[in-house]
Subunit: 407 residues, 2 copies
């Protein structure tokens, strides 16, 4: 795995970072990351809805509920999932070390893990890594932290925005990791191996942050599919440490929509990067369903295409095979009349009122499917609801990679 | 595609067959098949639940409802699906030709098609093929008919049984096709590209045949998954022509359970052959869930593992990666306590009460996953319900094949 760390420095006032090596990864890459605010921050978080929740997820759910956090301690190379009580104990110890070394209330520290499932997390090694991370903390180490949480990622994924809130310029910056086992369906305070951290120096209430997550999640991480497997570890954390000294943003306040929009854009850019880096993926496909009878039908239709092995293999082959798209729509559970639908690859219409358009359109559609990013749009003409999913193709490399993952 | 037609001759008293070429397939293989009973037969049928139903499915649903059929006319190389009214017209003409040539009531003839979706079925060519099939009818042409319905199949799939019903020996013989777009979820008289025909010379009422389908489907075709895409064309037809002259079998009669058992075994053998021939598949995996809270939970758990790209890629890699299995169980929607579950690969237990067993067990489990067929068994310890799905691995060849399918 070649890492090309972007040289753009990222600073968020009042946040420090570390990324160190403790030997959890065989290739010797950084495997422990620490994100820490200088002061306790308002926070909101969402976690995987998978019934098998990793030890760090169980602890994070408990602690994030209070709406205040100061640090996140992360390891890669081991998911600490399906590891029983011993796993919970190690995850708590990771937080305890941060608490002790940095003089932070333990209740304000949450753990995250990503990597192999069902393998005990080596306690001594990871705790040594956590201590090293505490010593390495620096406002300049955003990229090192990001590297420390990567697993099968081919490139580091981050996004930043500057937005004016209460006459103050505030930074909203996010980092994310993940390339496989991606179909995050996160729920706030109920329950990725997508790990995402969005940080801002704005002052905002926990309620405002929760609302931002609720607004942005369906249009970002909960709208992406790489393979359709929903991880035991998916986690997203929003932290606002108030260092910008603006009037705190509350839901419904004048500044809320600006901060919410900035947060949403950052989350959308990050989510798209995860699909772009999907294991083996060669292209990103936006699946847009319009004219559905209900929002549920729209989601089902978009989700079914985004997960269909046959549609995804056709995308890989640059084949605008409408028959497979129509077949997937048909078994999605959405209600529609096949004789009314329209289908487009970008601007090229391939089905009009239920009939495939033949002729040179086929070559133009094929040209669209050779692009690194394109949109597959379907109008069901059954109502007014719409939904979007962002997916990637299914390549030979995906299968090769995931059949050798542990060897 | 190399066909190794089995030399075993199959005869079912009172049934004739044909398999001819009309040029729908570029490779010049047989592409029209005809199955015909000498006399009108009792019948039951089930069709895809996909909302986009191929033209022949729409006609078959209508005609099969009456419980009597005499002939099935089948073409491969073109699914006649998503082809609008023109598609319906050609499918009706195929039946009309059989009716005219063989002096059979048109209402007793149903069509089936399999192949590309969304491409108009060439009328003149296919009707010429149908006429040729009528002329070629023979009691000896079971295998030619079977070849005529194959598409991406690597080998012909059939099964036979002889069973005593009312003191008469009767034959139950079935043929099936299908290797991709396989996750048949057929419903009787509501709505496969799995095509299956099970024929017997027993006398049985349409009600008995419907009951046999209802009994056998959940444990045969509706329990298999190759890729998880449910086709627009899936069809299964049971025909009993009564030539054995037994007392007609009715539901609840003394002979019913024997005929039902024979029919079920034939359908199970056929369904398993479809998985064995799954596109790119190198192994068959029986996924068994026990101890589920409810039958619905058991089905969800089995189905989710059977469809998980990560589990299926691990099967391909001969990797008994329990973490992925547990992850799939977790997002299946089934309710269970991860700390209670047991997991086995054949007889090798790899998880006991929620803990992975380490050591030499891992090598023994890996040896199981190198077998061409093995069972993955999970006991959720949450209740008494159970379910089984039969799936295959996800190979590099599956993706390669399905990304070039039309080129």
């Amino acid at each position: 795995m070649k890492l090309s760390i972007q040289p753009v420095p990222i600073h968020i006032p009042g946040f420090q970072f570390a990324g160190v090596r403790c030997g959890l990864k065989e290739n010797g890459a950084r495997d422990v990351a620490l994100i820490c605010s200088d002061v306790p921050a308002a926070a909101a978080a969402a976690f995987t809805t998978n019934r098998v929740k990793a030890a760090p997820v169980l602890i994070g759910m408990e602690r994030a509920a209070a709406g205040r956090l100061q640090a996140v301690i992360i390891n890669s190379g081991n998911a600490n999932a399906f590891t029983g009580r011993a796993g919970l104990a190690v995850a708590r110890e990771m937080c305890a070390v941060v608490s002790r070394e940095l003089h932070i209330d333990q209740a304000l520290v949450i753990p995250s893990s990503t990597g192999h499932i069902g393998v005990p997390l080596p306690r001594d090694r990871v705790l040594e890594g956590v201590r090293a991370a505490c010593r390495a903390l620096s406002p300049d180490a955003f990229h090192e932290a990001l590297e420390g949480m990567m697993t099968t990622d081919a490139f580091p994924k981050f996004a930043t925005e500057v937005v004016t809130v209460g006459k103050r310029g505030v930074t909203v910056a996010g980092m994310t990791k993940g390339a496989g086992m991606i179909a995050p369906r996160m729920a706030i305070e109920k329950h990725a191996t997508n790990l995402t951290y969005v940080l801002t120096d704005a002052a905002a209430s926990p309620a405002a942050l929760r609302r931002i997550l609720q607004t942005a999640l369906p249009h970002s991480f909960n709208a992406i599919v790489v393979d359709g497997d929903t991880s035991t570890n998916d986690t997203i954390v929003l932290m606002a440490n108030g260092m910008a000294d603006n009037t705190p943003v509350a839901p419904g306040s004048r500044d809320f929509s600006r901060l919410c929009d900035a947060g949403t854009r950052v989350m959308q850019r990050l989510a798209r990067l995860v699909v772009k880096d999907g294991e083996g993926a060669t292209k990103v496909v936006d699946v847009e369903i319009e004219g559905a009878r209900s929002p549920r039908d729209a989601k089902r239709a978009a989700e079914t295409i985004a997960r269909s092995p046959l549609c995804k293999a056709a995308f890989f082959g640059s084949d605008p095979y409408t028959g497979r798209v129509v077949c997937a729509l048909g078994y999605s559970g959405a209600v529609f009349d096949p004789e009314k639908i329209d289908v487009y690859f970008d601007a090229v219409q391939v089905v009009r009122r239920g009939r495939e358009i033949v002729g040179e359109v086929e070559e133009r559609a094929a040209a669209v499917t050779r692009r690194p990013e394109f949109t597959l749009r379907v109008n069901l003409h059954a109502g007014t609801a719409s939904a979007r999913r962002i997916t990637c193709d299914l390549s030979v490399d995906y299968v090769q990679f995931n059949s050798d993952y542990r060897t």
